[in-house]
Every structure is written in structure tokens, then in C-alpha cells.
């Protein structure tokens, strides 16, 4: 099947070249970080996790697109989604791969990465995160590949794949839950110390992941002869609508508890993000933009005519994707460290090399996504021709 991924038009090769260029730039910059140290990033003693870990957090959500398609298709026998399950599974693969790469580029001693396996520590949530992320990657690879290969040959996929599909559904929930637990169980970080962290991760994931999938479906219809289908896109749009409303609702629940209780350790981080704390507030415009985008998207999506129009739907999906990215990929992680446990403020702004390395990892994700989608779409085109 792999041969399908390397046969394409000039435009296709051009796109691959661009992506490879971005990856190359990221890789060279990473070599600099590897030899010099993480000091070339904006991280500090006080804000010891930043952009990289935030991208991990966000992309775990994107990977969730898969379960929102797999679950209705296999558990509710919603036939329409059969057409796009492969797209959802193949979106999960590069997403999880990027998650793992973001952990890797964040390590101070990446050569010792295997110590996590040599000295397994079940008391550490990071140990479990490694297991669930790798497991989800493997599940989607096995399922996606075998189902697609069967489709290509016009046969039913082997029976042993079925249990894996069922396992992949709760497994998808586990990757968010465990990633949320990385933060939600730390005693001295009031911003993260909340039981609604995992539910918030799930809601923002089920909004961001399917939003991206809708955008990809629209793109595929434009650039290939395979149409993912209008009904499919509309069903995804309904999922996105519910999820983004839940996400904002969960956030407001958090805001109520924090501000009505008036406990400073929990309030100060929110103040830092939205109104500034002790004169510091680098993220204020970003956070209000995120809130604005999410509310704007809700207003659009709840109006049936706007949701049914694919052009306006696309705008809402872009708004959701950017809004949830700011919320998780920018605000959630650094704000947990500001103010620090001694109630001092050190702000965090990612540096240029840090952003280039981040783009490099996104480049790897884009490359893997392109190759996988190319294979899947070629087979789908043949099947429908």
C-alpha cells in the first residue's frame, strides 16, 4: 500500500518538499537545542514547562477525532461514518506521534528516554501517559492499516481487528484522562488542581479534533476525486457543536468555583490570564481572543442554516481550532506556573528557536498525515470509480 503514498502529481511533490523543508529547519534547530541545552527556549526555573508540553496537551485532543467517528459507526451502526472512519483513524496517528515527539523535544536528557521503561514507575502519571499514547498509536495503526488493506482488496477486514476497534474506544478516553491527570494531581498548583480537568480535556478534544476533520474533509473534496460526503460532515458538525458548548460550560463552572470561593491560590492564575496579575499579563489579549472565538463559533453553529452552509461551517471550525489551541496550547500550561509556588511572577514567552522546533514537529505530523491520507484517498478513489 505504501507505494500509493509516493505516487502523485507535481503539486503533491511540491507540498511534500515544503513540509520536508520545515522538518529540516526544525531538526537543525533541535540539534542546537540538543547540544546547547533547553536554555535556548523561553523556559525558566519558574515556568519549567511551556510550549512543547502545551502542544502535547492540545494534540492529545486532536487525536480524539477518531473516537467520535469510530464510536457512532461501530457501536451505533451509524453507516454514514463508515466512509470516513479511515480518515479519523489516520488523523489520530500523526496527532499521537506529535504528542510523543513533543515529550521527546522537551526532555533535558533525551538519550536516557528509555529509563522510563528500564525503571518502570507506576506511581508516575507520565509512565501511564507513555503507555496510553503509544498504545493508542499502535491501535490506530493496526486498525487503520488492516481495514484499509481489506477495502482495497474488496474483502472484509480480518476478525481479530474487531476487538481492537472496541478497545480503541475507551482507550481514546484514556489518553485525555491520563494527560489531564499529569496536571490535575499536583498539590501546589492551584490552577490545575481541579477534578474537571479531565472532562474539560475531553470536551475541548471532541470540539477541536472533529473540527479539524471537517476542514480536512472539505479540503479532500476539493483536491481529490473522493467526496467524504455531505451527511458525514453535517454529523461531525453536530458533534462539534455539542462539544464546544460543553467546553465553554465546563470552563464557566471552573470560573464560578474559583471566583465565588475567592481562594487566592486558585484565583491568581485566572487573573493572570484574563486581567493581569501584579502588573503582568502577556497572555491577556490571547485569552480573550480564544474566548471570543469559541463564543463566536457557538453562535454560528447553533443556527441551523449557518451550520448547514459548508462555507460558514468551515469558518466556525477554524475559529474553534484556533480558540481551543490558544486555550490549551498557550494558556493552560504556562498559567499553571504563574504565579509560582512562592507567589512570584516570572513570565514565559516562547523563543524563536523554540517555535521553529515546534513547527518542525508539526511538519512531521503534516508529512505523516499527508502520506497516510494519500494512501487512503487513492484507495477510496479506486473503490468509487
Amino acid at each position: 500500500m505504501l507505494e500509493l503514498a509516493i505516487k502523485g502529481s507535481k503539486k503533491y511533490y511540491g507540498w511534500l518538499a515544503v513540509v520536508l523543508g520545515v522538518i529540516g529547519a526544525g531538526f537543525v534547530t533541535y540539534l542546537w537545542q540538543y547540544f546547547a541545552g533547553l536554555g535556548i527556549t523561553g523556559l525558566s526555573r519558574d515556568v519549567s514547562w511551556g510550549f512543547y508540553i502545551a502542544q502535547l496537551t492540545f494534540l492529545v485532543g486532536v487525536a480524539a477525532a477518531a473516537v467520535m467517528v469510530v464510536l457512532p459507526y461501530y457501536l451505533h451502526d451509524y453507516k454514514a461514518f463508515g466512509r470516513i472512519t479511515i480518515l479519523a483513524e489516520f488523523l489520530a496517528i500523526p496527532s499521537v506521534l506529535m504528542c510523543l515527539l513533543f515529550v521527546l523535544v522537551d526532555l533535558g536528557q533525551p538519550m536516557r528516554m528509555l529509563n522510563v521503561i528500564f525503571y518502570p514507575s507506576p506511581n508516575s502519571v507520565l509512565f501511564w501517559d507513555m503507555i496510553v499514547l503509544n498504545g493508542y498509536l499502535l491501535l490506530n495503526l493496526l486498525i487503520g492499516w488492516n481495514v484499509l488493506e481489506a477495502e482495497r482488496q474488496g474483502i472484509h477486514y480480518p476478525n481479530w481487528v474487531k476487538p481492537l476497534i472496541y478497545i480503541s474506544i475507551p482507550w481514546a478516553v484514556s489518553i485525555h484522562t491520563v494527560t489531564a491527570f499529569l496536571y490535575a494531581g499536583l498539590p501546589g498548583r492551584g490552577f490545575w488542581l481541579t477534578a474537571i480537568m479531565a472532562p474539560r480535556f475531553l470536551s475541548s478534544a471532541f470540539a477541536a479534533g472533529p473540527s479539524l476533520l471537517i476542514l480536512l474533509c472539505l479540503l479532500i473534496r476539493r483536491i481529490s476525486n473522493f467526496d467524504p460526503g455531505r451527511e458525514q460532515i453535517q454529523s461531525l458538525a453536530k458533534i462539534v457543536t455539542y462539544a464546544i458548548i460543553l467546553n465553554v460550560f465546563f470552563f464557566l463552572c471552573e470560573v464560578f468555583t474559583v471566583f465565588y470561593s475567592q481562594i487566592p491560590e486558585h484565583m491568581d492564575h485566572f487573573k493572570y490570564l484574563f486581567v493581569g496579575f501584579n502588573g503582568h499579563g502577556a497572555l491577556i489579549p490571547w485569552m480573550w481572543t480564544a474566548m471570543g472565538l469559541m463564543l463566536f463559533a457557538i453562535l454560528m453553529l447553533v443556527i441551523p442554516s449557518v451550520r448547514r452552509n459548508e462555507a460558514t461551517l468551515a469558518i466556525a471550525c477554524i475559529a474553534i481550532f484556533i480558540g481551543t489551541w490558544i486555550d490549551k496550547g498557550l494558556g493552560l500550561i504556562s498559567a499553571g506556573f504563574i504565579p509560582n509556588p512562592l507567589h512570584e511572577v516570572t513570565e514565559y514567552i516562547p523563543t524563536v528557536p523554540e517555535i521553529i522546533i515546534t513547527l518542525g514537529v508539526y511538519g512531521i505530523g503534516a508529512l505523516v498525515l499527508t502520506l497516510l491520507y494519500k494512501m487512503a484517498i487513492s484507495i477510496k478513489e479506486d473503490a468509487s470509480a
Binding site: A36, G37, L38, G39, L43, S44, R45, D46, S48, W49, V103, D106, L107, G108, Q109, P110, R112, M113, N115, V116, F118, Y119, S121, N123, S124, V125, L126, F127, M130, L182, Y183, L186, P187, G188, R189, E265, G336, F337, N340, P341, L342, H343, E344, T346
Partner: protein, 283 residues
Amino acid sequence: MMEKSRRRFLKIAGISALGLGAKPVLDVFASSEEDVVVEAPVQEGAPHVTETEAHHAATEPRIMRSPNAKVAPQWAMVIDTRKIQSHSDVEPMIEACHKIHNVPHMPDKKHEIKWIWETEFKHAFPNLASEYMAKRVEHLGLPVLCNHCENPPCVRVCPTKATFKNSQGIVMMDYHRCIGCRFCMAACPYGARSFNFFDPKPHIEEENKKFPTRMRGVVEKCNFCAERLAVGQKPACVEASNGIMAFGNLHDPNSEVREIIHSNYTIRRKQNLGTRPAVYYII
């Protein structure tokens, strides 16, 4: 010197034993952990050999403890801040610690490495500071360091056991195992941990050859001077503190620290978090 060559011998002996089977080597490390746990509270500084130790010694190679070693199931510190008059009372403690532990002076404050430092009451005890409080306390510079918690969150989150609680209650770091994920820094509610964002060696003023330097990409912090306790010395900051700090066995009701805790009202940092810090403050 003696210590070093004995270690070397054991290392070589251990590696040779691998040829016959790895078990004896593993036993050396396993047993040294085990029998310290078995130990009942011991008098500070008293030389001792437990029964298990004697038994093991006859059969297998093992790492021996110095007869002078100070031993306790949980070390603790009491800082009497009433004795602090000014910055110059705290400075020597920081100086002594950072010097012998090869703690670098990083030029950028964001990459600062510190094992013990001075801070105001409102930063050391953010949940206890009031708008109106005793003038002396308000502007007092307090020494803060790793609390060697009895229930340490940093140890709980470490994915490689590179940070661990040793048999004497000290939260230790294995700089060779640490992968630099910094989960422990997120977990510590006291900001006690530092990360080597760059190679620290060029920023060490005068290297102490008796203590290892670190490399870039690993986390480090106060070790309650485990290396000094092992040879019967008190922690460097305690020695330099001119009586401001007391140090001893928390589980021994007759130890100096317990007597002080018994006869004075002490507080600990962020006690409400359940970490059970082993550094007590008299304000």
C-alpha cells in the same frame, strides 16, 4: 581515598560477578536498601551493625557504611528565625552549601540554580502572610530549601525513580538517571528544584573535586548533605548557621530537633498540602 578504592573494588567485583550471574550484584544493592528499613530508630552518630548486615557480610559482597556515619530514619531541621538579625546571618549558610556542592552562578536569573536561598516571609509562607504583621517578621530574610517531605510529591511523579526518598528520609537525586522531564519541578509546592538549562560547569567559580558536578538537562536540589552525614558531619548550612539551624533525627524523642519542636511553636511551609515537610520554622 579509602572510601573510593573500596567502592572501586566492589564495582569491579560486582561486574566480574556478572559473568557468573547477575544475582549477587543485584543483591548488593537490594540488601543495602532492605536492612536500613529494618533498623529501629537509632541514636545519632552511633556506630552500629544490624543483624542482617552481619549476616550478609559473611556471604555476599556489600557496600559498607562508615562507622562514623550519622544515621536516622527521618532527618529533620529546625530553623530558629528569631536568631536572624540580618542578611549577613543567612548569607554564610547559602555560601557554604553552594560552594561545596558546586552550585553554579548562572548569569540569567531564569536559569538560576539554588539549593538554599533567602526569601521574605510572604514568599516562604504565602498562605500565612497578612497585610498587617510584626515588623520584624515582615522584612525578615528566611532561608528556604528542599523540605525533604515525608510524603514528597516530587518522588511520586518521577517516571524513572531518579528522585527517591532514601532510607534516612532524604529526598535524593540520581543525576545519571534523570531524563530531565521536569515533572518533579511541577510537582514541588516549594519551588525547591532547579534545572540545568545549560552546562553548569563554566559557571562554577571554584570546583570542589569531592562532590560531583552536574551536566545540562538534569534537575538538582538540596540533598540535606547526605554525603557529609555519611562521614559523620552535619550539613554544611547547619554548621555555618551559627546556631540558627538545628538538625537531627525526627523519630527520636530525645533528639535535639525533637526537644526544640517540643518546647517551641513551630510552623512548616504549606502544611495543608499533606506533604509533611521535615523543615520546621520558629518565627
